[in-house]
């Protein structure tokens, strides 16, 4: 099987970017990634763009063609949608095209422009990532609140442990210039912030963000020694009410098992992990389901000052921001940029769609002998 190299990457600033259009963000990320790869736009053979709802946020329903039109040779281009996992599924689609030897070098973009509409409209659009829950008036914070309550009841996880996830990720984001927030917060700040859906406070929730990210993938090494070493993709019921368990994401567990096996490593080998912390409880689920700690111990594990892995070093979705379609690609772009600097050799990216209906795990490796 061919090896897939990450040869370039870029991430725009994440945040409320009123002066940037979706088009601006995509162009910024795409051409910066191509430049990072020391390639020319004409070297891109195909484009895969992850995006959840440009048709609803922006009225743009032909995103693939829009992105292709930025290039002088109009490369084949397609949009991939899987709610908040749109970016990582765009990655997987691109990787499959490379492994099928259809192309040698492709561009993967993740993008979302969310702040041009009222926040309640955004809440409504994001609720479209669920099923009948939307008609039953539930919001995504409401669904994750139910998951948090189930975890708290079964494992005695506390509000302070949830808050600690936000505190850690806000601290990590201080070192990330692209992050939406550069502000330290305390456990008390989180617990005293307004309640959104009990037990989740405002500061337990990731923000509404604009942003884009891009990576260039190739079956040719170019100058890179960073590869996609393993991938996993799994699904679960779309409706939360149909789940067998409310204290774990079976999709994450399955995707992680696939990715570890393909990369021939275990959870203990991961040095840094970018995880899907759309709400603080989601990172607690992630550290357990990815096998970083025992089931039910996620809150305690994250509370440790020194964990085996660096957890959401970018600031995660919570503090770096969560432009939904961009997130899965941003996780990999961020890890790629840090690995180029020699920070880690084996890393993991974990991206969730909905309340665990879709899970995608990527493992990145680097080494001189790859």
């Amino acid at each position: 099987m061919s090896t897939i190299y990450i040869v370039g990457s870029a991430v725009t600033k994440f945040g409320e970017l009123w002066d940037k259009s979706l088009r601006d963000l995509i162009q910024d990320a795409a051409f910066s990634a191509i430049k990072d790869a020391t390639l020319e736009p004409k070297d891109i053979e195909a484009i895969f763009i992850g995006n959840m709802a440009a048709n609803q946020f922006e009225g743009q329903s032909h995103l693939g063609a829009l992105v292709s039109s930025f290039f002088p040779h109009f490369p084949p281009s397609m949009r991939i949608e899987s709610a908040c996992a749109s970016g990582s599924l765009a990655m997987l689609t691109a990787e499959n095209a490379l492994l099928a030897q259809r192309y040698n070098t492709v561009l993967v973009i993740g993008a979302e422009k969310m702040t041009d509409v009222d926040a309640s409209v955004t809440t409504d659009i994001l609720a479209g990532a669920a099923d009948v829950e939307k008609e039953q008036r539930s919001t995504f914070p409401g669904l994750y609140a139910l998951l948090a309550q189930a975890h708290m009841q079964k494992f005695k996880t506390t509000s302070e442990q949830l808050a600690n996830v936000a505190v850690k990720n806000h601290h990590n984001a201080l070192a990330n210039p692209h992050a939406q927030f550069h502000k330290e917060i305390t456990v008390q700040d989180v617990i005293q912030s307004p309640m959104v859906a009990e037990p989740l406070h405002l500061l337990d929730c990731s923000p509404i963000s604009d942003g884009a990210s891009a990576v260039v993938l190739s079956t040719k090494k170019h100058h890179s020694n960073i590869i996609i070493a393993g991938t996993g993709h799994a699904q679960d019921t779309l409706a939360l009410a149909d789940r067998k368990s409310l204290t774990e994401f079976a999709s994450t567990q399955k995707a992680a098992t696939q990715a570890y096996a393909q990369a021939n490593i275990s959870a203990a080998d991961i040095e840094a992990a970018e995880m899907h912390d759309c709400f603080t409880i989601a990172e607690i689920f992630a550290v357990e389901d990815l096998g970083f700690c025992k089931k039910g111990k996620g809150g305690q594990y994250i509370q440790q000052t020194q964990t085996r892995q660096e957890l959401n070093p970018s600031g995660g979705l919570k503090a770096c921001g969560h432009p939904v379609g961009a997130t899965g690609v941003k996780q990999i772009a961020y890890l790629h940029q840090q690995m180029k600097l020699g920070r880690w050799n084996v890393t993991l990216a974990h991206n969730i769609g909905g309340s665990g209906a879709t899970a995608v795990v990527h493992i990145l490796k680097q080494g001189k002998n790859l």
Partner: protein, 100 residues
């Protein structure tokens, strides 16, 4: 005011209500939402319960004005008016649960 569900979809949902009305179940999860969808006219805060019925689990809003519901409370599925004004001139009803 935008309607939460299009009238044809509302009709398709409504013909399934009869399967659930009068069924009793147990609350296994509950939250209180302080934020709602843009097209919802529900009162806030809105309590949502995950209810375990004999046939399946269902996520349901909790009817206003009844006794307090917590995890473990036995509830009955019933029909309530969910909103009173829509631009489609539909008075929207839907399934909710209340203590029994």
């Amino acid at each position: 005011m935008k309607h939460a569900i299009s009238p044809p979809r509302y009709y398709r949902n409504s013909i399934k209500w009869i399967q659930w009305i009068g069924k009793t179940g147990k609350v296994i999860g509950i939250t209180t939402q302080q934020v709602q969808q843009s097209n919802s006219t529900s009162h806030l805060p809105l309590q949502i319960a995950l209810v375990e019925f004999e046939q399946a689990q269902l996520l349901l809003p909790i009817a206003l004005g009844g006794p307090q519901i917590t995890i473990g409370t036995k509830v009955i599925c019933t029909l309530r008016k969910l909103s009173s004004t829509t631009e489609n001139a539909v008075i929207e009803y839907g399934l909710v649960c209340r203590s029994c």
